[in-house]
Amino acid sequence: MKTAMKARILVVDDEPSIADTLAIIFQRAGYVATAVYSGEEALPFIAAHQPSLVVADVIMPGLDGIALARKIRTIYPTCQVLLFSGNAETQDLLQAAQQEGYSFEVLAKPVPPPQMLAKVASLLGQDPSSIF
C-alpha cells in the first residue's frame, strides 16, 4: 500500500474499548484510523479530515449511528459508511431510514476482525470517488 494513498477511517462507538481496538486493528492493516466515542464528536472530525470511510455503531446515546450515517450521506456524499450493531432494535431504525430512501449495510456484532478487514477493503476498493 502506498503511503501517500493511505485511506483514512473513522471508528465511532460509545464503548471506547471497541472503538479503540478496532482503530488499532485498522492502523495495523495500514489505514489511518481514529476512534471517537459519540456521533456528535464524529461530525467535526469528518469536516476536518474528510475520511474515506466511517465505521459506526448503531445504538449510541445522542446522535445514533443511523442518524450520523444520514448526515454523512447528505453532507459528504463521497464518504462511505459501514454500520455494525449488537442489537435487534437496529432493525427498526434501519427500516425507518429505508422508508425515507436511505439504505445502509449493517454488520452484526461481534464481527470477527478478519471479516471486518475484508469488508473494509472491498468498500474502499469500490470508492465512488474513484469511479466518478
Binding site: L22, I25, F84, G86, A88, T90, Q91, K109, P110, V111
Partner: protein, 667 residues
C-alpha cells in the same frame, strides 16, 4: 172496438214486419262482415249515423279475426259494441246480435265494471290498456279473461279494438301445475326423511313407502306397495278406526300414537300424523308420517319406574350424567365403583361404551386413585363436591359435580360432568406460548448484552494474536480463545440471527439455498462417512428471508448429522406441496437413519433450552427453527421413533411464477 183492434193488430203486424226486416238486415250485415263482402257499415246511434269503413285490403285481417281463438270486438267512443267475432259470442254464450249494439260494460261482471270503465277511459286517451278481469256469461257464470283495449288508428270517428283472451283453462292449468309441483316437492322431501312416510289410498293399498319406512319397519318398498297399511303393520289404534277416520274426514288430519309390528316382529311405537290429500282427479289418499318413539317410550317407562327426580335429567342433558354405587373394602376405603345408570351423553363425554353394571376398574385400569377417593367421600359423608380433574386413562379433563343419592346406606353417588379437555388444552397452550415468548424475549436481551463485550474480546484477542511479539505458545492459547469465541458467537447468533437479518423477504429457490449450504457441509458429511441423497422436484420459488431459510435447513441438517453415527444416511427431498388454505407450496423433507427421538422428547423438541445433546446442544436450534417457520407462514412437522430415524419436513407457501415476476427479486 173491432176497428180499434184491427188497427192495433195491423200496427203490430207492421211493427213486426219492420223488426223482421231490421233483423234480416242486421243478419245480412253480419254475414257480410263475416264473409268480407262489405266495405262499410252504417250504424245509427245516439250521435246520428256512424259509418265504419272496412277496406277490402283488410279482408285478410277480418278473416283472421273470425278465425282466432281470442274474443274480439270493436267499440265505439261511447262504449257500444259495433262488431264482435263469433268466439266472443261463444265465450259469453250470448248470440252475436245481442252483443252488437250493447254497451261493452254490460258484458263485464258487476265487480269488474269500474275496472273496465277505467280501462276504457285509458284506451280512449290513447294508452294501450290491458288487464285481467271477469266477464259475465249468459248464465251468470264469471269468466276470467285478459282484456286488451286499444284505439284503432286512422279511424274516424274514434273506435276501439278489444281483444279478450279466455283465462279459464290457463287458470285451471296454473292451479293444477302449482298443486302438482307442491306434491312433487313434498314427495321428494318425504323420500329423504328419516321418518316413515307412507301414502295409501283410502279403501286401497300403499302407494308410496319411503326409506324411513323401510328402515323403521324393515319392509322394503316392493314388499309394502299395494298392501293395506293396517294389515301389513298390524296397527293397534288408540281408539276404533271408525272414530279416527271420522276425525280425519272432518279436520283433514289426525295425530296420535300407534303401535306397529316391524317385519321382525318387534313392537314399534310411533307418533303418527295422518293427512288427507286429494289429487287432481279428486282421489283421496292418506299421507301418514310416523316417527319412531319406541326408545322415548321405554325411557319414559323407566323414568316412571325409578327415581323420577334424577332421571328427569336423563336424555335432555348435554352433560354426562351417571349414578354409581361406590364399593368399599372392609375398612370402609373406596376401592371401585359400579355404573348403575348413565345418560345418553355419557358415552360421548367419556368415550366408554355399554358401561351399565360394569366396574370402573374394569373399564379403565389406569383410572387415578383420586377419583375413587373423592366419590367414596361423597358416598360416606353426603357432602356434595365440585372439582376439575384429569382422567389420564381417558385422556380427558372433566368438570365434575357429585352428590349422594338416597341415604348413607345407599352408597350411591350421582355425578354430573362435562368434558373440558379442549378448554384445558387451550389454556395450557396459552400458558406455554406466553412462557415461550417471555423466554424468547429474555434470551434475546441477554444475547444482545453479550455481543458488545464479545466484539471487544474478539478485537483484543485478534490484536494479541497478530502482535509481532506474540510467542508461538501464546498464539496457540489465543487461537483456542478465538475458537471458543466463535462458539459463543454461534450460540448468540443462533438465537438472534432471525431478529437481526434484513427482514425484507425475497424470492428464493429452495434448491439453490440448500445446494449452497451443502457445499459448506460437504467436508463434514464426508468426514463422518454420511451418505447424502438428494431428490429435487421442479418447484416454484418461495418468498422468504434467505438467511433465515438457510438457518432452518442448517439447523435440521446439523441435527440429523448429530443423530447419526458413522455410515448413516440423510435424505433431502424438495417437492411440491399443498399448504394452509389449499395454496401451493414447497416442502423440504430432511430424513435421517439416526437414533430417532423418543415420544417424551418429541413433545418438547420445539421448546427453548430443551436439548438431548448434553455437551454441544444449546436447546435453541429447533425452537428458533419453529419461530422462523411460523414467521414465514410455513409449517414444520416431525415424525420419529426411537432407533428408526427422524423425518422433519417444512412446507413453505410458494409464489407462482407469474406472481414472481411482479414481486421482483430486489430487496
Amino acid at each position: 172496438v173491432t176497428e180499434t183492434i184491427s188497427k192495433a193488430s195491423a200496427e203490430l203486424a207492421r211493427e213486426n214486419e219492420a223488426l223482421r226486416a231490421q233483423l234480416a238486415e242486421a243478419q245480412e250485415v253480419i254475414r257480410a262482415i263475416q264473409s268480407g263482402d262489405v266495405d262499410a257499415v252504417v250504424v245509427s246511434g245516439a250521435q246520428g249515423e256512424q259509418i265504419f269503413t272496412l277496406k277490402g285490403a283488410e279482408y285478410a285481417y277480418r278473416a283472421l279475426v273470425e278465425a282466432m281463438n281470442e274474443g274480439a270486438a270493436t267499440l265505439g267512443e261511447d262504449g257500444i259494441v259495433l262488431y264482435c267475432n263469433q268466439r266472443l259470442s261463444d265465450l259469453l254464450g250470448i248470440p252475436l246480435e245481442r252483443i252488437i249494439g250493447r254497451p261493452a260494460s254490460q258484458l263485464v261482471g258487476n265487480e269488474a265494471r269500474q275496472q273496465f270503465e277505467t280501462l276504457f277511459a285509458d284506451a280512449l286517451s290513447g294508452d294501450a290498456a290491458k288487464s285481467e278481469l271477469e266477464l259475465q256469461s249468459s248464465e251468470g257464470r264469471s269468466i276470467p279473461v285478459y282484456v286488451s283495449l286499444r284505439e284503432m288508428k286512422g279511424d274516424d270517428p274514434t273506435a276501439l279494438c278489444m281483444v279478450l283472451t279466455d283465462l279459464t283453462e290457463q287458470k285451471k292449468n296454473n292451479e293444477l301445475l302449482a298443486a302438482e309441483e307442491a306434491l312433487r316437492k313434498q314427495a321428494e322431501l318425504l323420500k329423504l326423511s328419516y321418518d316413515a312416510i307412507i301414502v295409501w289410498r283410502l279403501g286401497g293399498g300403499i302407494e308410496s313407502w319411503n326409506i324411513g319406512a323401510e328402515l323403521l319397519y324393515g319392509f322394503t318398498e316392493c314388499e309394502a306397495m299395494g298392501r293395506v297399511t293396517h294389515e301389513l303393520l298390524k296397527t293397534i289404534h288408540p281408539k276404533p278406526w271408525s272414530e279416527i277416520e271420522a276425525e280425519l274426514f272432518e279436520k283433514g288430519t289426525w295425530e296420535g300414537e300407534l303401535r306397529h309390528r316391524a317385519r321382525d316382529g318387534r313392537e314399534i311405537v310411533v307418533s303418527a300424523r295422518k293427512q288427507i290429500i286429494r289429487d287432481v282427479n279428486g282421489t283421496r289418499r292418506v299421507l301418514e308420517t310416523n316417527r319412531d318413539i319406541t326408545e322415548r317410550k321405554r325411557i319414559e317407562l323407566a323414568m316412571r319406574q325409578s327415581e323420577a327426580r334424577y332421571h328427569a335429567l336423563f336424555g335432555t342433558l348435554i352433560e354426562g350424567f351417571c349414578i354409581i354405587e361406590v364399593i368399599f373394602d372392609p375398612f370402609n376405603r373406596p376401592i371401585d365403583y359400579r355404573f348403575l345408570e348413565v345418560n345418553p351423553a355419557f358415552e360421548m363425554q367419556t368415550g366408554l361404551h355399554d358401561v351399565q353394571g360394569k366396574l370402573m376398574r374394569d373399564l379403565a385400569q389406569e383410572h387415578e386413585e383420586h377419583w375413587f377417593e373423592i366419590y367414596g367421600k361423597v358416598a360416606l359423608t353426603g357432602e356434595p363436591v365440585r372439582f376439575e380433574n384429569e382422567a389420564k386413562a381417558l385422556d380427558r379433563w372433566y368438570d365434575v359435580s357429585a352428590y349422594r343419592v338416597g341415604g348413607p346406606e345407599s352408597r350411591k353417588v350421582a355425578i354430573l360432568f362435562n368434558d373440558i379437555t379442549e378448554r384445558r388444552r387451550a389454556e395450557q397452550a396459552l400458558i406455554q406460548s406466553e412462557k415461550l415468548a417471555s423466554v424468547g424475549r429474555m434470551a434475546s436481551t441477554i444475547a444482545h448484552e453479550i455481543n458488545n463485550p464479545l466484539e471487544t474480546v474478539g478485537n483484543a484477542v485478534y490484536l494479541a494474536l497478530t502482535d509481532p511479539g506474540c510467542s508461538p505458545e501464546a498464539k496457540s492459547y489465543l487461537k483456542t480463545a478465538v475458537e471458543e469465541l466463535d462458539r459463543v458467537t454461534h450460540i448468540t447468533r443462533q438465537t438472534l440471527a432471525f431478529h437481526r437479518e434484513n427482514t425484507k423477504p425475497t424470492l428464493i429457490d429452495l434448491r439453490e439455498s440448500i445446494d449452497s449450504l451443502l457445499i459448506f457441509y460437504a467436508p463434514r458429511l464426508k468426514a463422518r462417512g454420511i451418505e447424502l441423497e438428494k431428490r429435487y422436484a421442479e418447484v416454484d420459488p418461495i418468498l422468504a428471508t434467505g438467511g433465515e431459510v438457510r438457518q432452518v435447513i442448517s439447523n435440521l441438517l446439523t441435527n440429523s448429522m448429530d443423530a447419526l453415527t458413522r455410515n448413516g444416511k440423510i435424505h433431502i427431498r424438495i417437492s411440491r406441496s399443498i399448504v394452509r388454505n389449499g395454496a401451493q407450496g414447497v416442502r423440504v423433507t430432511i430424513a435421517d437413519t439416526g437414533s430417532g427421538i423418543c415420544p417424551e422428547s418429541l413433545k418438547k423438541i420445539f421448546e427453548p433450552f430443551f436439548t438431548t445433546k448434553e455437551v454441544i446442544g444449546t436447546g435453541l436450534g429447533l425452537w428458533v427453527t419453529r419461530q422462523i417457520v411460523e414467521k414465514h407462514g410455513a409449517t414444520i412437522r416431525v415424525r420419529s421413533k426411537p432407533g428408526k430415524g427422524a423425518v422433519f419436513s417444512v412446507a413453505f407457501p410458494s409464489v407462482s411464477q407469474g406472481n414472481g415476476e411482479r414481486l421482483g427479486e430486489r430487496g
